[in-house]
């Protein structure tokens, strides 16, 4: 064998070994853009996880959420909940509670289980892609909300508008709020969506909106 051939064989062997090494090296876990895990691996051990909660539209709903989490068979603890941001912090061991789920599946699995125990009034969704300071806060005054379920109806109407990241509604003060992506929607569109469903938006809001146009 010539030196040239020997070097070629060595080079091929090295490349093959490198390739094998690459395949056998475990992949580093991918992270969903939403989760903000602790510094160490979020998949293992009981850790706190912050998620956006669908249906957390008013102060009373915080207790409802706690009750719903309590009905879940999984070991998930609700640490804190803030209806104004629709966010909640949960504590659980992802590797046990969502065993077998890929990281990008955790939200969906959690969402399905929470919906099941709450008659679909609660759910989990990804945190907004836009940072909070890029979202616009909108306030709309509504007349004639009689109860929590009426507020839920208003919340659902707004939450379904594309661009609404966070929404609240309260029959106590007749106030509905939303954090919106201004590139996708605006206050006028929210008012339009509400009026289409015959929600009584108060005159000053409607007038202010008309003036803007």
């Amino acid at each position: 064998m010539t030196n040239e051939k020997h070097n070629l064989i060595k080079a091929r062997r090295a490349a093959l070994i490198a390739l094998l090494a690459l395949c056998l090296t475990p992949c580093a876990p991918t992270r969903a853009a939403d989760d903000k895990p602790a510094a160490d691996d979020p998949a293992v051990g009981v850790k706190e996880h912050r998620h956006l909660v669908k249906g957390l539209f008013s102060k009373e709903r915080e207790a409802d959420l706690r009750e719903a989490i309590g009905r879940m068979p999984d070991e998930i603890e609700l640490v804190t909940a803030d209806y104004q941001t629709n966010e909640a912090v949960f504590r659980y061991d992802q590797s046990k509670v969502f065993k077998g789920a890929k990281p990008q599946q955790v939200i969906e699995w959690f969402n399905q289980r929470l919906q099941q125990v709450s008659d679909r009034t609660f759910g989990i969704k990804p945190l907004p892609e836009l940072p909070a300071d890029k979202l616009t806060r909108v306030e709309i005054h509504i007349a004639g909300l009689d109860c929590k379920a009426c507020s839920y109806g208003v919340y659902l109407t707004m939450e379904r508008v594309d661009g609404v990241e966070v929404a609240t509604a309260s029959f106590h003060d007749g106030l509905a709020t939303a954090l919106i992506d201004p590139s996708k929607t605006d206050r006028a569109k929210l008012i339009e969506a509400l009026k289409k469903r015959e929600v009584d938006v108060k005159d000053d809001d409607a007038k202010a909106d008309a003036d803007k146009k």
Binding site: D119, D146, C147, K148, Y152, D200
Partner: protein, 874 residues
């Protein structure tokens, strides 16, 4: 002309008159000449009757009928008229004796030995009740699918009313199949008993919707539910959101202000029956006064209506056919639990209505529920349990298959046998939450010796179904058919089903089998049970017929007592009254909403319940026939008592109420149901009411009006009373003879309006004075006026005068014999399926005499009828 010529002419006239009655003896001719020809000859023809031309040919039916009318007029003392010279004493009696004999002889000659009651099939009601009793399925619904029966002499039991066509036969086959589908057990164990608590406010239902709009509220501990505040300035928003949040499944009490209407049908249809059978329901009801957010004691006990609703189509929407299960009390601020066991067919659920509340609607009211003050009925919960089977397989199955085991059908073991057909039981409607209880495999009755078992089973079934003994030859024909079906590849169940269907469609089942002449013991047992139970004889009656004991002294009387005490006798009350007093037509007219805004279905149903309960009381207490027109008690509930202006009656149940002296209420004559069926929904008229009284209560049916006389159009604008309009009509001599008899009862009953309310002024939509509200619910708007005063005075044909309804009642009640005789006649027509012929009158008179000797009570009358020759002869 000379004197001789005149005399000759007179002689010729007399000869002509006499020769018209050449077949009659002189006594008839002389009587007519002395007392009748002055008015009823060819010249004057009063009442359109020329007796000089009336031949005596009673073999001709029309002629016979005319002579019967002559006989009756003389017998009643109507002819000769009171203001004419009286006949020679004894002449009338002699005439009637001869005429009566002649008519009876002619009738007998015409009828010969022909059976008096024609061959007749079961009526729809009899068919349904027979199936129900034969298979112990008390609620299976069949009558509504069969063609309507006719009516003859006032009843559908009459042979003349019961024709049959290919349509009937096709429907009988369908009915038999439906019966067998229900009756045959197709599983080794009964379906699991389901217990379910449901609420009026189930999601997606009508009530959830009206709660959103403020036509009802949710309550907890008798206060507004804090999780669902009453609709106020705005209606609640987004019913779906509320349902998702579980608002309507929270166990809260539903308080309803709104009455059922054309767009609101409260149903409990989270439960929809999958299996036919008995179901037990329990519900908690109470009432309250709602005052803009406050729950306060109500004005009194309200009434809620529960009904059985048959869901059709895809089950959505409202207005599905329903039958009333009953009315139930909802006391003020106090829960009352009601429990009822009832039969349900497949695809049935329960309906609810705030029956005693006036129609209100808050959905369009500013402020909705928080601006409303008014009564409400609350339903805390509604429990359903069933199907309940005391035994399995049920009686319906063992009637067909005895104690043969039910085993799983194996296709491998029976390669050449077709398995029985099965339809999968499932929950057919979307809101129904009660699931089916499926069974794996195909289960069917098993026989190791099919022809032996078939013979044994048919030996039990056929005599029971046919209501008499069945010969071996007949039974063997059915067994041969089983054999044929088995050889054709049917399994045992299917083969037997084939012959059972054939039996249920055979004349032996469908027809009353009655020999001509004296009924045999089986026919007597059947006639008795169809009279008092509207259904087949039970084992006791059949055993008495089989042993020959049924005609032994005291036995029939004892059986009459037994049958009357049985709850099934209520069918007799309902069916007889429904036809005799036309209660079946209670809903034929809708009272004008403007003139009678207080009318409601609850009132109408209460009316019918009153009449039925009253007849029941006459039978149970053996009260005399004067009670048909005058009474010191009434059978009332709160709704009726309020309508009649009788205080102190609380609750929805009918009960006996003693009346103050001088109160006209109580008897059939003044019951609201009768007053409604004899009016047209807008106005009353003395003529139809008077004719009703004459025909149905007094047994003196008036002649129909001449064809060319139009009806009198009432003046609803109130300018003229019907009486004033009729006066012109009655003053015409042609009309007067009939109207002198028809109108007086009608004038007396002018004291009552179209819904049976007592009045002294007519209501009008035109001129008049503003009325007092009286007992009309405060939530009902009043748009009518008070018009002319009512004049309910009159005079009977015999000249006796009455000033109002009570004095009329006194006059009529004194003729107890006539009332009893008519009732006897009606009961005979109903029970024997034929009219009372001229020749039956003596026997009818004997029945009435025996009854009066024993006190004259209605129960006694029923006994005497059953013991009579007329009843026991076909």
């Amino acid at each position: 002309m000379t004197r001789l010529g005149y005399t000759a002419m007179l002689a010729l006239v007399l000869i002509a008159r006499v020769s018209a009655h050449a077949a009659a003896p002189d006594i008839v001719n002389n009587y007519f000449e002395d007392n009748c020809f002055d008015c009823h000859d060819s010249k004057f023809r009063k009442g359109n009757l020329d007796l000089t031309a009336l031949k005596f040919e009673p073999g001709n039916l029309d002629n016979f009928a005319r002579w019967v009318k002559v006989f009756d007029r003389i017998d009643a003392g109507e002819m000769p008229p009171k203001d004419e010279p009286r006949p020679v004493p004894g002449e009338t009696k002699a005439l009637q004796a001869w005429l009566g004999d002649a008519l009876r002889t002619a009738e007998h000659a015409r009828l010969g030995d022909e059976a008096r009651t024609g061959l007749r099939r079961l009526t729809r009601a009899e068919y349904e009740n027979t199936i129900r009793d034969l298979f112990d399925m008390p609620g299976i619904a069949l009558a509504g699918e069969l063609p309507a029966d006719g009516s003859a002499h006032g009843f559908d039991t009459n042979a003349d009313a019961l024709d049959i066509s290919h349509v009937n036969l096709a429907k009988y086959i369908e009915a038999a199949d439906h019966t067998l589908d229900y009756a045959i057990a197709t599983r080794p164990q009964p379906p699991a008993v389901m217990k379910m608590r449901t609420a009026l406010s189930y999601p997606a239902g009508f009530v959830a919707h009206v709660l959103m709009n403020g036509d009802g509220v949710l309550l907890r501990d008798k206060k507004p539910d804090p999780n669902f505040l009453p609709a106020a300035e705005h209606k609640h928003f987004d019913q779906g959101a509320h349902e998702q949040m579980g608002v309507f499944r929270s166990g809260a009490t539903v308080g309803l202000f709104r009455h059922e209407d054309e767009s609101f049908f409260p149903y409990f249809n989270e439960f929809v029956s999958i299996y036919p059978g008995q179901y037990r329901i329990r519900t908690s009801l109470w009432s309250f006064q709602w005052d803009k957010g406050q729950v306060l004691p109500s004005r009194g006990t309200e009434a809620a209506r529960l009904s059985i609703v048959t869901l059709t189509g895809d089950g959505r929407g409202g207005g599905h056919p329903s039958t009333v299960l009953g009315y139930y009390d909802a006391p003020s601020m106090h829960e009352q639990v009601h429990e009822v066991t009832t039969w349900l067919n497949v695809r049935e659920t329960f309906g609810f209505n705030t029956a005693s509340l006036a129609p209100v609607a808050n959905y369009s009211r500013k402020g909705h529920a928080m601006a409303f003050t008014g009564p409400a009925i609350a339903c805390d919960w509604f429990d359903v349990e069933g199907p309940i089977h005391d035994v399995w397989p049920p009686v319906s199955h063992t009637r067909l298959f005895g104690d043969l085991p039910i085993t799983e059908f194996s296709r491998d073991a029976n390669p050449d046998v077709r398995p029985p057909q099965r339809d999968e039981r499932r929950q057919p409607f979307f809101p129904g939450k009660n699931p089916p209880d499926p069974v794996k495999g195909v289960w069917t009755v098993h026989s190791d010796k099919p022809l032996v078992d078939a013979d044994r089973l048919l030996a039990d079934f056929l005599p029971r179904a046919f209501r008499r003994s069945v010969s071996d030859d007949v039974r063997k024909q059915y067994v041969a058919k089983v054999d044929e079906r088995l050889k054709a590849g049917d399994c045992f169940e299917t083969a037997m089903r084939w012959v059972y269907r054939a039996a249920l469609c055979s004349p032996d089942f469908l027809y009353h089998v009655e020999p001509a002449g004296r009924l045999d013991d089986y026919a007597l047992a059947s006639r008795l049970s169809y009279f008092l139970w509207n259904s087949m004889p039970d084992d006791t009656l059949i055993a008495l017929a089989k042993s020959g004991d049924i005609r032994k002294p005291g036995v029939l009387d004892a059986q009459v007592e037994r049958l009357l005490k049985d709850p099934r006798s209520q069918r007799f009350v309902d069916n007889f009254l429904g036809q005799w007093l036309k209660l079946r037509e209670i809903a034929a007219t809708d009272p004008d909403r403007k003139l009678y805004p207080e009318f409601s279905t609850y009132l109408q149903n209460s009316m019918v319940a009153e009449s039925r309960a009253y007849f029941r009381e006459l039978i149970d207490k053996d009260l005399d026939a004067s009670h048909l027109v005058r009474s010191d008690f009434a059978m009332l509930n709160q709704k009726l008592a309020t309508h009649y202006g009788i205080p102190g009656v609380v609750g929805s149940q009918i009960r006996r109420v003693e009346l103050p002296a001088g109160c006209p209420r109580g008897p059939f004559l003044t019951q609201a149901a009768i007053l409604k069926v004899t009016a047209n929904g807008t106005t009353t008229s003395p003529v139809p009411r008077g004719a009703f009284v004459m025909q149905r209560l007094l047994g003196q049916p008036p002649d129909p009006p001449p064809a060319n006389v139009p009806a009198v159009e009432p003046d609803v604008r109130g300018a003229k009373t019907i009486r004033e309009q009729l006066d012109k009509h009655r003053s015409d001599p042609t009309c007067a003879s009939c109207h002198a008899k028809i109108d007086p009862p009608g004038f007396a009953l002018e004291s009552f309006d179209v819904i049976g309310g007592q009045r002294d002024r007519y209501r009008s939509i035109g001129e008049g004075d503003n009325p007092q509200r009286g007992s009309i619910d405060p939530f009902i708007g009043i748009g009518f006026k008070l018009g002319p005063h009512v004049d309910s005075s009159g005079a009977l044909p015999d000249g006796r005068k009455f000033s109002d309804i009570t004095t009329f009642q006194d006059l009529v009640a004194s003729d107890t014999h006539r009332l009893l005789r008519n009732l006897a006649s009606q009961l005979l027509i109903y029970s024997t399926g034929r009219e009372v012929a001229f020749g039956d009158r003596e026997k009818l008179a004997a029945i009435v005499d025996q009854t009066q000797k024993a006190g004259g009570g209605v129960r006694t009358l029923v006994h005497q009828i059953v013991l009579s020759d007329l009843f026991q002869t076909r």
